[in-house]
């Protein structure tokens, strides 16, 4: 018989990095659903496409860095990064925008610092900021929500994303743009008079923002807090309800 020397505690909970990440992914669901409801399948497409690119990049990089890529992928952190980024991109964003964003997030936001746990900023937000600075036009071209324009179907969506230019009628100003460009009207007038902010469209924005609002500003300030909160939300339906009101 040989003895083993281990440091305490000798018992350990069931927690894994992957389960934390899974919970964060679950926490994004309400927001993603609402985005899809109002803007059509664009967001979903972003997430799926971005996710594939991200996983491939992470795999390649960790292999290059001499780590076990399967371990790196299986902690799901890369999916959290790509999903957070893709939710923040406009639906129907051209494919190259997603590719650039994801590559920046994975390479510049995460892996150059040493991978999971060593990144000083939230990688998704690094990707987002780089895109916002480099491609302001594409980044602010949000689709009109349901009610203002016809929401495209899946086929149109694919065509729009991978062959841009074939559809050009779906973009519109976001409410913030509207506010910025507004010169004469009072805020309240704007709220009640402009089609973007009333009716279906207005409610859409309202809901989307609510679904993320409590989390996203946090994410920019502190990824730690963001993850902690997102995780709490995911586990605690009471918090979710309380903060959505």
């Amino acid at each position: 018989m040989s003895l083993l020397r281990v440091t305490s505690p000798h018992a350990s909970g069931q927690g894994q990095v992957s389960s934390v990440m899974r919970d964060v992914l679950i926490a994004t669901l309400p927001g993603v659903l609402i985005l899809t409801a109002y803007f059509g399948p664009g967001t979903l497409l972003n997430i799926v496409f971005g996710g594939l690119i991200a996983v491939a990049t992470e795999y390649a990089i960790t292999a290059l860095r001499g780590r076990d890529p399967r371990v790196a992928i299986s902690d799901l952190s890369i999916l959290v990064t790509s999903t957070l980024l893709c939710i923040a991109l406009p639906p129907y964003a051209p494919w190259w925008l997603i590719v650039i964003g994801v590559l920046t997030a994975v390479l510049l936001g995460k892996q150059v610092f040493g991978g999971l746990g060593y990144n000083p900023f939230n990688p998704a937000m690094v990707g987002y900021v780089v895109l916002l600075i480099s491609f302001p036009v594409q980044m602010s071209a949000w689709a009109s929500p349901r009610g203002l324009a016809e929401v495209p179907g899946l086929g149109d969506t694919l065509r729009h994303v991978f062959a841009p230019g074939t559809i050009d009628a779906v973009t519109a100003a976001t409410p913030l743009d509207l506010l910025r460009q507004n010169t004469g009207l009072l805020f309240e007038d704007l709220l009640t008079n402009s089609p973007e902010l009333t009716g279906w469209g207005g409610i859409g924005w309202f809901e989307v923002n609510l679904a993320f609002l409590r989390w996203r500003p946090l994410a920019v300030v502190s990824p730690d807090l963001y993850l902690a909160c997102a995780h709490r939300y995911a586990r605690c339906p009471r918090c979710l309800r309380a903060h959505r009101i």
Binding site: M1, S2, L3, L4, R5, V6, T7
Partner: protein, 203 residues
């Protein structure tokens, strides 16, 4: 004057900058004299970081002389008893790059204390005169002994002893000095200890 300034924006800007510089410079200068804090002289602060082994390995007769030498610009890596930790602390204090220990002066060792094999001691008092911290107790022709709590392990008493009855023994041995060390990154989380204790006793 004013008219000229308003005609010459470049000149105006220059004058303004110069004026501001002069005013704040004067203010700062005044404040530096008026609100001067009488801090510890830098050599005091350096001395507080040195290990006070008083061994002279740095080439100076004790820690204080070395601290004064550092304050005058000597390098900070000459104290083996202090080792890397002291060098780091000095580098932080003086805001310079830490350097590796200068091997010319010796290497970092485990802390030790002197121990006199008392039945061999002839009571020559030579070690008493050598000890920089008066850690040896004794009188002429009677056996001497080391006060272990006061001994710094500086090694200066070893050489003068005519009968070589002084040993340096590790100071930090045994359970009361043990503490956990930091886990190693990426290392296996457990040690396997080969033992046949149970089987032997069972047999």
């Amino acid at each position: 004057m004013l008219a000229m300034l308003s005609d010459q924006p470049l000149l105006a800007a220059l004058t303004a900058l110069l004026g501001l510089g002069a005013t704040f410079g004067a203010l700062l200068g005044f404040a530096a004299i008026r609100f001067r804090v009488e801090g510890n002289p830098i050599s005091e602060q350096i001395n507080a970081l040195l290990p006070q082994t008083q061994c002279g390995q740095c080439g100076y007769p004790g820690c204080r002389p070395y601290s004064e030498a550092i304050a005058d610009g000597d390098s900070i890596n000459k104290c083996p008893p202090g080792g890397e930790e002291t060098i780091q602390a000095l580098a932080d204090l003086l805001d310079v790059e830490p350097q590796p220990l200068d091997a010319e002066h010796g290497v970092e060792k485990e802390p030790v204390v002197a121990w006199i094999r008392e039945d061999e001691c002839i009571g020559c008092t030579k070690c008493i005169q050598a000890c920089p911290v008066d850690a040896i107790l004794g009188a002429a022709k009677v056996m001497h002994t080391v006060i272990a709590d006061e001994c710094t392990g500086c090694d200066l008493c070893i050489e003068p002893c005519p009968v070589d009855c002084i040993d340096l023994i590790p100071r930090k041995e045994g359970i009361s000095f043990w503490h956990w060390s930091l886990p190693e990154d990426r290392a296996s989380r457990y040690d396997v200890i080969a033992t046949d204790a149970a089987t032997r006793d069972a047999a």
